[in-house]
Structure formats: structure tokens, C-alpha cells
């Protein structure tokens, strides 16, 4: 056995998985691949906060925001090398993909032991990994291992890293280029000006003062109705142009 993958999110169950992974890798002289998946789900900030408040309430141990660093430190302590992998996407799918890409021999994952409505809502990542994995999976249940020896390492790491919210990673600020900024500004506001022209002219012609003009029939429809439709058509066109230019 050469590589052991451990998936973790910083909650209690995954900390047990770290311990087990380092223990097994140490026994076989294998490398630990520590994987942390950041979820890519379009949740509102308040939704994320509600979730983490509720999840933390299920835990006996506090949530730990730097599990990869913890895995590395714990590995070092036991002479096991740990490779850190940070990824983004749907948790189960990403874990399985990384395991496949790196040719991992075994997956170790924690199980929160969630039940009832909570399980209906969140599902069980460990269960779905077991169900879909082509390689052996070891599930470490929450509370099945003594985690007290992790505490000093956690304090040490927490001391040197700034604690962050689990779902709100800091984005690295880019570099401000004045030329690029001006170009984008001209482009954005140029399109906005063009669209404003279509929109406000259309609106003007359909007001009471200019209604004679808007009432002129073209191809069976009053000019005013065509103007309204052109606001839609113009909007769709400008949207497409903007997105093509912005490289999306």
C-alpha cells in the first residue's frame, strides 16, 4: 500500500479519520493524501452561517478550520509524509476523483453519525463514498477514537493561523491595472449608454406626449409595441456581447 487518502472538513468526525490515516500509513510506510473539499454551492451567507451553527452544535469538539495543517503536523510527529490537496466542488465526487487521479489504495473518512431529519437534509458523505468507491474505504465513526493528543497540535496551529469561517475563504486580492480598468469601464459604460438610448427612447415614445408616433402601425403592430420588444432583443444582444468580451 502506497497512498492513503483521508478526507476531512475540520469537524470532529474527520479528525478521527486523520489519526487513523496516519496510523495506517505509518504501519505500511505509505504517504497520506489529505483532502479538504470546499463546497461549491450557491448558498446565501446567512444559509451558510445557519448550517455551520447547527453543525457545530452537534459536535463535542470545536470545529477546526485548518485540518490540512493539522494532518501535516500530526504526520510529522509520527514520521509520516502528508500531501495536502485542496479542491472545490461536490464533496463525494471530488474525493472519488482525486482518489482515482492519484492512484490511491485506500480512502479513510469520518462518519458524523447524523440521524433522522439532519441526515435527510445533509445526507452522508461517508455512505456515498462507500457506495461509489472502487477501492477499499475505511469509515471512522465520530467518538470512536480518543482525540486528546490532537489538542496541543490544534492549539499550536490555531496560534499561527488566522481562524476563518469554514465556508468563506479569503480571496486573494488581484493587482489593480489602471489601463485595464479604464478599458473595462469604457466597455461597460459604453454598452450601458447604448442600451439606455434604446430603453429611454422607447419609453419616451410611449408616453402620452408622443403617443401618435407610438401608435403608427408597422407590420400589424403599433410602433410602441415594437419598441418594447426591441428593449428585450437589445438586452439579450448586449448581454451576449458583454459576456463574450468578458471571456465568460
Amino acid at each position: 500500500m502506497e497512498k492513503v487518502l483521508v478526507a476531512m472538513d475540520g469537524y470532529e468526525a474527520s479528525l478521527g479519520a486523520i489519526k487513523k490515516a496516519v496510523e495506517i500509513a505509518g504501519r505500511y510506510g505509505a504517504e497520506v493524501v489529505a483532502v479538504q473539499v470546499e463546497e461549491d454551492v450557491p448558498l446565501l451567507p446567512m444559509e451558510k452561517e445557519t448550517e455551520s451553527v447547527n453543525r457545530i452544535r452537534e459536535q463535542q469538539m470545536p470545529f477546526f478550520s485548518a485540518p490540512l495543517e493539522l494532518a501535516t503536523a500530526y504526520g510529522q510527529k509520527h514520521g509520516v509524509s502528508v500531501r495536502q490537496v485542496k479542491a472545490r466542488g461536490i464533496i463525494t465526487a471530488v474525493i472519488l476523483k482525486i482518489a482515482q487521479d492519484l492512484g490511491v489504495d485506500m480512502i479513510i473518512i469520518g462518519d458524523s453519525g447524523r440521524q433522522g431529519l439532519q441526515k435527510l437534509h445533509f445526507g452522508s458523505v461517508s455512505e456515498s463514498v462507500v457506495r461509489s468507491s472502487a477501492i477499499p474505504v475505511l469509515v471512522v465513526k465520530k467518538g470512536s477514537l480518543d482525540l486528546s493528543d490532537l489538542a496541543p497540535l490544534m492549539t499550536e496551529i490555531a496560534g499561527r493561523t488566522v481562524p476563518g469561517s469554514p465556508s468563506q475563504p479569503e480571496a486573494a486580492p488581484g493587482i489593480f491595472e489602471t489601463d485595464a480598468f479604464r478599458k473595462r469601464m469604457r466597455f461597460s459604460f459604453g454598452l450601458l449608454g447604448l442600451y439606455s438610448l434604446i430603453y429611454f427612447l422607447a419609453a419616451l415614445f410611449t408616453s402620452a406626449q408622443f403617443k401618435e408616433l407610438a401608435q403608427v402601425e408597422i407590420l400589424g403592430l403599433p410602433f410602441g409595441v415594437w419598441l418594447g420588444l426591441s428593449v428585450f432583443a437589445g438586452g439579450l444582444g448586449i448581454t451576449r456581447v458583454y459576456l463574450v468580451k468578458e471571456g465568460s
Binding site: 448558498l43 489593480f176 438586452g235
Partner: protein, 538 residues
């Protein structure tokens, strides 16, 4: 209960929506196929949620109802509701995602830290969200009055409390997925009505709706002739009497404009301009829409969600126009009778459900009410959540108790959601007879005069100063509120200026002017370099 089957359909579909949204969170964690899971799903879901968030009672009931009564002129509301999204995309979508984290206050105080900017942003957010909540409650009141036969005040109290309870008790979880599902529901219901009305009454050809509308005088114009016409063609006779009534009115008033003649609603150029200005720049300032841009991973995904929403809205609002005109033609005597009896509020907001009930009985009525309810619930949830996020984050965590835990903030947020719902219910009782789309238009006007100039300047104008921002936000808020309340108080003019249908024509230039003037007089530009680099990074 008047419509037990329809009511059952509504309850079942709501239950289904809640169940699916509760369940879909697990899907986002436990799907095993990587390529299915790849990058596209989050922004697509977000786009659907935006659609649900944005299309409220105003779009679903109000615009179609206003078109059915007054003809094509009322479509301008929908044209504006659509066009505003182009402004959001071009001006704000990318920078907003890059620079913001939780609230509009967050984004502004990323450039100008300190309490004043944050509190002001919080205040504007809460006022806007509450005023926008009112039309949702008015719509719900009329809708359930129709469905259950209760009187308006009871209905508003019950539905309003339920909407508040929904957010307080469970709505902060699964909101996004629920909004996405409700977005699909309201879109599906509107398209279904369009397909049915076209197939059953216009030989399957939507162009025929426009052609027939050319020969009809809009009910709001024809109401004077109502008593003569209704004797010959009573509403009880169904659609058959509609064409008779339309022809009879046309004969009585041969010179009257048709339903697709622009200018019938006779908005003069100032009212029209004020309205379209408020609508155009409104969405850039609507907190419950802006907050949705924080949910996707990067600026690119934010723009992609905006585009998908724009395409969805184009389809939706063109369908709304056709359904409104179709509804007028099919329900003509009914609408005339309601107008003649003074039931303006019901007539202007209930065309779509009435049309459904006529075409497909209680089942279709149920489907449509479910669609409308989806529109209201998803919007109300979005509004309450963005208001309370701002209260919890900007006020409570930012000023009152910076050391608060997540849990304390959540409790504070839920309490506030309850209080705001109560305020909105009280206002909804008072504003019973207003068209919900017009009420929403007012909120747009306030948004266009506060956050729209403030946010645009914050992310694009380096010369903006702290005092400029504060001046712009305050002046915009005060002037727009002044003219909004003057409108509802029935005043003809304030400070020598006539009160218009929307405050934006005065308040937007006033806010912008104050912001520019104060910026040139002062020098504190905030953390401009750092902020611009974050906002405009790729």
C-alpha cells in the same frame, strides 16, 4: 372553504417544493459523478434562485393584471423589470461578487470602513426590504381571498404570519434551493397558462392574441359603458359573452384606443420618465437581488448567472404580456363588472388566477395560485433574509456587539425577521387597493436613488469620498421616501414639485448630485487602491 381541490393542489405543491429543497442539499454533498458535478450547476441553480427571488407577486399577478385592465401600456413595468438586469450585469455583477461578502454594507465598508457607512447601508437595506415586502403581502391577501373566500384583513394576517414564520422557523435553511424550485414553478405556471389560453381560445397561435387585442377597448377605458354592456353579455355566460361584450363596447366607443395602442394609460412624459428611470436603475440597488451574487464562486459565475436570469426573464415577461392581453379578452365582462363594482384591487391583481380557474377549473386555479405563492414566498424569503442579514451582520455584529457568536447573531436575525414581517402586514392592510406592481415600482424608485448611485460610484469612481457616499445615500433616501409617502398620502405636490407615480425622477438626480458635490468638496477616498484591485480583479 370555497375551493377545496385548488387549495389541496396549492398545499401539495408547496409541500413538494419544501421537501425537494430540503432534500437537494444532500444531493450537493453526495453525488458521486464528477462531471455531472462540474462547474455549471452552482450558477445555474443560482440563476433559477435569482428568478424566484426577483419574480414576485408584482411580476406574476400585478403586471398581467394591469395589462388586462389597461392594455399594453402597463407592459412598461415588465419592460423595465427586464431592462434593469442589463444594468446590473454591465455595472455591478462582477465587481459586487469580487468585493462583497455578506451585505451591501460590507461592500461599501470594504472601501470606507467605520460605523456611519455601515449603519446607513443597513438602514436603507431594511427600509427597502420592508417596503418591498408589502406588495408581496397585498398580493397574498387578494390571492387567498379569492381562493378561500376569507375577507382581506384576515387573509393578510394569516398569510403574512405564515410567510414570516416560514423564514423565522425554517427558511434560513434551504432558501436557495427553495427559491430555485419556486423560480421553476412560477415560470412553469405562467407558461402553462399561456399555452392553454392560446390553445383553447386563440387556435394555438399567440399572434392571434395581439390581433384580437387590436379590436378590444381596455376595460379601464370601457368601464363607463359597463352597465349597458353587462346586461347583454353577463360574466356568468363565460367566454362566449366576452367577444359579444368586446364588440358591444367597440360599437359604443368607436374612437376609443385599443388594448395594444400605446399611450392609453396616459402617463405624461414626466410620470413615464420617472417610472422607467426608477425601474431601470432599481435592481442595481435591491439588496435581496445583490446578495445573490455573493453565493457563486467568482465574478465569472456571477455574470453567467445574471445572463441566465436575463434570458429567463425575457421569456417570462413576454409570456406575461400575452397572458395579460389574453386574460383581458377572455375575461372581459368579468373584469368590467369588477371594475364597475369598485373592486379595483382584486381586478388588477387576480386576472391570471381567474383565467386559470375559467380554463381548467379548480386544478388549474390551484396550479396558478401555487405559482403565485411560489413567487411571493421566494421573494419574501429573499427580502427578509437580506434585511436580517444586514441587521445581524452590519448592526449587531458590526456595532452593537462585535464579540457576538454566530448563534447569537442568528437569534437576533430571526427576531428581526419576525418584527419586519409584522410591520409589513400592517402596511399591507393599509395599502389594500394598490396594484402590487405599482407598489413594487415604488420600492424600485427608492433603490434606484440610494444604493444604485452609491454602489456604482463605489466600484467605478475613484474620486468618491466618504462624505460623498454618505451625502448621496442620505439625500436619496430622504427625497425618495418623501415623494413615496406623499404619493400614498394623496398629496399633489411637495416642495413645489408635482408628486409623480415614482420618486426616481427627483431623488436619483438629487442623490447623484449630492454625492458628486460632496465628493469634490472633501478628500477621504477610503481604501481606494486596495478596494479597486479586489473589485476589478479577474
Amino acid at each position: 372553504m370555497e375551493n377545496p381541490i385548488a387549495f389541496t393542489v396549492v398545499v401539495l405543491s408547496m409541500f413538494l417544493a419544501f421537501f425537494v429543497s430540503w432534500y437537494s442539499r444532500r444531493w450537493t454533498r453526495t453525488t458521486a459523478e464528477f462531471y455531472v458535478a462540474g462547474g455549471k450547476i452552482p450558477w445555474r441553480i443560482n440563476a433559477m434562485a435569482m428568478l424566484g427571488d426577483y419574480c414576485s407577486a408584482a411580476s406574476f399577478l400585478g403586471v398581467a393584471g394591469a395589462i388586462a385592465l389597461g392594455g399594453i401600456d402597463s407592459w412598461w413595468l415588465a419592460v423595465g423589470f427586464f431592462a434593469a438586469w442589463i444594468v446590473v450585469l454591465l455595472v455591478l455583477a462582477g465587481p459586487l461578487k469580487n468585493a462583497g461578502k455578506f451585505t451591501v454594507g460590507d461592500l461599501l465598508s470594504a472601501r470606507f470602513d467605520g460605523k456611519t457607512v455601515r449603519i446607513l447601508a443597513m438602514l436603507a437595506t431594511v427600509i427597502l426590504c420592508t417596503l418591498y415586502l408589502v406588495p408581496q403581502m397585498v398580493g397574498a391577501g387578494h390571492l387567498f381571498q379569492l381562493l378561500l373566500g376569507w375577507d382581506y384583513i384576515t387573509t393578510v394576517l394569516v398569510t403574512g404570519s405564515l410567510m414570516g414564520a416560514y423564514v423565522v422557523l425554517g427558511g434560513m435553511r434551504g432558501t436557495t434551493y427553495n427559491q430555485a424550485i419556486q423560480g421553476v414553478m412560477l415560470m412553469g405556471a405562467m407558461l402553462l397558462v399561456l399555452v392553454l389560453v392560446t390553445a383553447l381560445h386563440f387556435g394555438g397561435n399567440p399572434i392571434k392574441i395581439l390581433a384580437a387585442a387590436r379590436e378590444a377597448v381596455p376595460p379601464s377605458v370601457a368601464v363607463g359603458a359597463a352597465s349597458q354592456v353587462l346586461q347583454a353579455s353577463p360574466p356568468e355566460a363565460g367566454p362566449a359573452s366576452a367577444s359579444g361584450a368586446i364588440a358591444a363596447v367597440k360599437q359604443l366607443m368607436p374612437e376609443a384606443p385599443s388594448a395594444i395602442t400605446p399611450g392609453v394609460g396616459l402617463k405624461d412624459v414626466w410620470n413615464q420618465m420617472s417610472l422607467v428611470l426608477g425601474l431601470f436603475f432599481g435592481v442595481v440597488g435591491l439588496p435581496h437581488i445583490l446578495i445573490r451574487f455573493y453565493t457563486v464562486r467568482d465574478a465569472r459565475a456571477a455574470r453567467k448567472s445574471a445572463e441566465a436570469t436575463i434570458i429567463g426573464l425575457a421569456v417570462f415577461y413576454i409570456a406575461v404580456m400575452l397572458v395579460g392581453l389574453g386574460g383581458m379578452l377572455v375575461l372581459y365582462p368579468t373584469l368590467l363588472e369588477m371594475l364597475a363594482a369598485g373592486k379595483t384591487g382584486a381586478a388588477t391583481n387576480l386576472t391570471v388566477p381567474l383565467l386559470g380557474s375559467l380554463m381548467g377549473g379548480q386544478v388549474l386555479l390551484g396550479v396558478i395560485v401555487a405559482g403565485a405563492l411560489a413567487a411571493m414566498l421566494s421573494t419574501s424569503a429573499g427580502l427578509l433574509i437580506s434585511a436580517t442579514t444586514s441587521l445581524a451582520h452590519d448592526l449587531y455584529a458590526g456595532v452593537v456587539k462585535p464579540s457576538s457568536t454566530d448563534r447569537e447573531r442568528l437569534i437576533f436575525a430571526k427576531t428581526c425577521a419576525g418584527i419586519l414581517a409584522v410591520i409589513a402586514i400592517i402596511l399591507a392592510v393599509y395599502l389594500k387597493n394598490q396594484n402590487v406592481a405599482v407598489l413594487v415600482g415604488m420600492a424600485f424608485g427608492i433603490a434606484a436613488s440610494t444604493f444604485a448611485p452609491a454602489l456604482t460610484a463605489a466600484v467605478w469612481w475613484k474620486r468618491l469620498t466618504r462624505e460623498g457616499l454618505i451625502a448621496g445615500l442620505s439625500v436619496g433616501l430622504v427625497v425618495s421616501l418623501l415623494y413615496t409617502f406623499a404619493k400614498y398620502a394623496g398629496m399633489a405636490s411637495v416642495l413645489g414639485l408635482p408628486v409623480l407615480i415614482n420618486p426616481a425622477l427627483y431623488s436619483l438626480p438629487a442623490a447623484t448630485g449630492a454625492m458628486i458635490l460632496a465628493s469634490y468638496l472633501t478628500s477621504d477616498r477610503g481604501k481606494v487602491a486596495e478596494f479597486m484591485a479586489t473589485a476589478h480583479s479577474r
